[in-house]
């Protein structure tokens, strides 16, 4: 109980709006640093457009490499938003409250970043409109030839755009009451902006009810989209009968649960950064990380189960080319040490640590373990994509390998900068912890007396 500090409503307002309204020097320094990385990435992309994809390390047979790995990684991270907000909102989990906004914003920025990569990695990016432009328009003008609806690469942009639209709406609906608070406390352009976006929200009972209904409706509607996005991403791979390492029926749920694993870890990392940077320790408390840590144990173990099946079924039918692939993944270098790193980082180091209550409640340890998970999960995607392509089918004559070029590394680095910078900029304009949610949480907090002990309790939401 000592963790909960009593705060008045106006104190909550001041605390949570401070990131937006106060000026911090570190903020601009970090932003400038990220901007430099993004500029470097943009220069790399420009060079790549000018010279062609030859400047990457891609070759035959490894036609997909870092870019697609990064695409899958960011789509994976984006799954945290809905996982935390929608599912936990529907399940009325109390500890979701400070995490939801950060998770949703991370979703939006990582999804937008993910979208860039398939476009970057096409051979002729200037023609990409034919592919993802607007799937109901024919090519060019009057040719009347449409895109191929049988291709998973057409479902991809459709699913991702749907997910992006619905998560943006989701964030917006949750932002409205906070925007109203911000409107009443600001002047100048900010006031104009918030007043417009707040849609005349005054906090009367009807408005609250509508806001809550919209939130619940969107939560329920967004869930199928959430599942579909990474399933479709997985089918980009699983549909390929020619790449044995990819052609697995388990890929869809395996990718989704893996996405949740890396996404929730990403949210934990982001929340710890928020707590440190904006001094929100009173709102983002160890008890939240405790709950998130327990959730992560379950998610990670479920993910590991799927991973285990995926791996063992590679050997199930004992086909020589599949065994060759698994040998390359596990014993061939440098893939072998990557594989070891991946499996240790994404499961065997963090999960046993999370078993301890003290670890779950330590911000430093949670920070590093969740970073570790995402290093592991990035490698996981890489190890699914690249070695599978290297050892594709039994024609050993054309087996090959892959070395990423500096251009690819630079663009991957830039993608991290884009997401971090995006979330930072968001924090400058909008409150990153839902203010109304924090207040609402206060109203259903309670304590009960059992014998001599005081037990934390909640008032049951109906």
């Amino acid at each position: 109980m000592q963790e909960r500090r009593e705060k008045t409503e106006s104190q909550i307002n001041t605390d949570l709006l401070s990131a937006m309204l106060d000026n911090h020097l570190w903020f601009w320094i970090v932003l400038a640093g990220l901007g430099l990385v993004i500029l470097a990435g943009a220069a790399a992309a420009g060079y790549m457009f000018d010279r062609g994809l030859g400047v990457t390390g891609l070759n035959r047979p490894v036609f997909w490499g870092f870019f697609i790995t990064n695409f899958v990684f960011w789509v994976g991270i984006s799954h945290a938003g809905v996982m935390l907000s929608a599912i936990l909102r529907l399940a009325q989990a109390e500890w979701r409250r400070p995490a939801t906004r950060a998770a949703e914003v991370l979703t939006i920025f990582s999804l937008a970043t993910a979208l860039i990569f398939p476009l970057l990695h096409t051979g002729r990016p200037w023609r990409v409109f034919y592919w993802v432009g607007l799937p109901i328009l024919p090519y060019d003008l009057s040719r009347g030839i449409f895109q191929n609806v049988r291709s998973a690469l057409l479902w991809d942009p459709s699913a991702i755009f749907t997910y992006l639209t619905s998560s943006t709406l989701f964030v917006f609906i949750a932002l409205v009451p906070d925007l109203a608070v911000a409107r009443d406390r600001t002047t100048g352009w900010r006031r104009a902006l918030y007043a417009t976006l707040a849609l005349g929200f005054r906090g009367n009972a009807r408005q609250w009810r509508l806001q809550a209904i919209a939130g619940i409706l969107l939560s329920a509607l967004i869930l199928p989209v959430f599942v579909s996005v990474h399933s479709i991403v997985s089918w980009d791979f699983a549909a390929a009968v020619s790449v044995e390492g990819w052609h697995q029926t388990i890929f869809a749920p395996y990718f989704v649960i893996g996405a949740v694993h890396s996404g929730v870890s990403g949210v934990v990392t982001a929340m710890i950064l928020m707590a440190w940077l904006f001094k929100w320790q009173d709102y983002i408390r160890p008890e939240h990380f405790d709950a998130l840590g327990r959730l992560l144990i379950v998610v990670a173990t479920a993910w590991f189960y799927f991973f285990f099946i995926e791996f063992s079924f590679g050997l199930f039918s004992q086909e020589p080319s599949e065994i060759a692939l698994r040998q390359t993944q596990v014993f061939g270098q440098p893939w072998g040490w990557m594989y070891l790193t991946f499996i240790m980082a994404s499961y065997f180091i963090p999960v046993p640590l999370w078993m301890f209550r003290r670890v779950r409640r330590s911000l430093v340890l949670m920070f590093w373990t969740t970073i570790l998970v995402n290093i592991g999960m990035w490698l996981e995607r890489f190890l699914i994509i690249v070695p599978s392509l290297m050892r594709k089918q039994g024609l050993t004559f054309v087996w090959g390998d892959y070395n990423p070029s500096p251009i690819e590394v630079l663009l991957v680095a830039a993608s991290f900068a884009v997401v971090l910078g995006g979330v930072l900029l968001f924090s400058k304009i909008f409150p990153l912890i839902p203010i109304y949610d924090a207040k609402e949480g206060k109203y259903i907090e309670a304590e009960i007396q059992v014998g001599r002990r005081t037990v934390p309790a909640v008032i049951r939401e109906e």
């Binding site: 010279r51 062609g52 994809l53 030859g54 990457t56 891609l58 070759n59 035959r60 047979p61 036609f63 997909w64 398939p118 990695h121 096409t122 051979g123 002729r124 023609r127 990409v128 034919y130 592919w131 090519y139 030839i145 449409f146 895109q147 191929n148 049988r150 291709s151 998973a152 690469l153 057409l154 980009d236 549909a239 390929a240 009968v241 020619s242 790449v243 392509l389 594709k392 089918q393 039994g394 024609l395 050993t396 004559f397 054309v398 090959g400």
Partner: protein
């Protein structure tokens, strides 16, 4: 009114028994189809292009070692894995049994190449460069592919078109089947024409009198990676060699 709907199914038979691995087909294809020069640099990058390649496997241990050759080009599968995955229909199956690659539509996702089990699809990582001396050697009937797109064996469709035109000018519905017999001469893909041992035979599998159709019923026939069910239009004929192993090559 319309161009007569020719009910053909172009098909090729590759007789492994006759192949000596001389690579004449590779060179012929390279020059016929404006395939970029495979320089050492491209080899080092693993980006060289050869629409038809002769794979060489070693069998047995030294000194009792045997080289096995198998020429592999686009198999023009009837249920090609590359076709459904292209988001922009840059590759599709036409009614002559050809697996078609449309260069101008391709955006270069390389998904088709991932999904090709035979690895016969090539991506132009760089803008192709020819030495000045070779620029006038380019075949005007074949598109010179720019960077960023996929390409692959077309069964020399430019030669097919020409033979159809020739037949039509003579008032025939379809090219005479004789024309596809290299010994008679008018038409065949470049690799077939170049093969000195007659290991490659091309023709219309729907015409029961064609050589290809009769060879296709040989009891030596098999398809490459048959278990994938891609139903290729390229048929291989097994090697007649009592010492041939069961496929455990190095």
């Amino acid at each position: 009114m319309a161009e007569p709907q020719v009910d053909v199914k172009w098909s090729m038979v590759v007789d492994i028994d006759k192949c000596t691995g001389c690579q004449a087909c590779v060179v012929a294809c390279q020059s016929e189809n404006n395939v970029p020069i495979s320089t050492q640099e491209l080899y080092d990058q693993r980006r060289q292009m050869t629409w038809i390649r002769v794979e060489r496997y070693w069998e047995g241990d030294f000194p009792d070692v045997k080289a096995r050759y198998i020429p592999i080009m686009c198999q023009h599968c009837d249920t090609a894995p590359c076709e459904p995955v292209c988001p922009v229909f840059a590759t599709y199956h036409n009614n002559e049994g050809l697996n078609v690659q449309v260069y101008n539509r391709c955006v270069g996702t390389r998904y088709c190449a991932n999904n090709c089990p035979y690895q016969v699809r090539f991506f132009n990582f760089w803008e192709p460069v020819w030495p000045d001396s070779l620029k006038n050697q380019l075949n005007p009937d074949v598109t010179v592919r720019s960077r960023g797109i996929m390409e692959k064996c077309s069964f020399c469709v430019q030669r097919l078109r020409r033979s159809e035109r020739d037949a039509a000018q003579n008032g025939d519905d379809r090219p005479a089947d004789d024309a596809f017999d290299p010994s008679h001469g008018a038409f065949a893909p470049a690799c077939v024409r170049a093969c000195p041992t007659d290991a490659l035979v091309f023709g219309d599998a729907n015409n029961p009198n064609s050589r290809v159709a009769s060879l296709a019923h040989s009891d030596r026939r098999y398809h490459l990676l048959e278990h994938l069910g891609t139903e290729p239009n390229v048929i291989y004929l097994k090697k007649i060699d009592p010492e041939a192993g069961d496929g455990n090559h190095e």
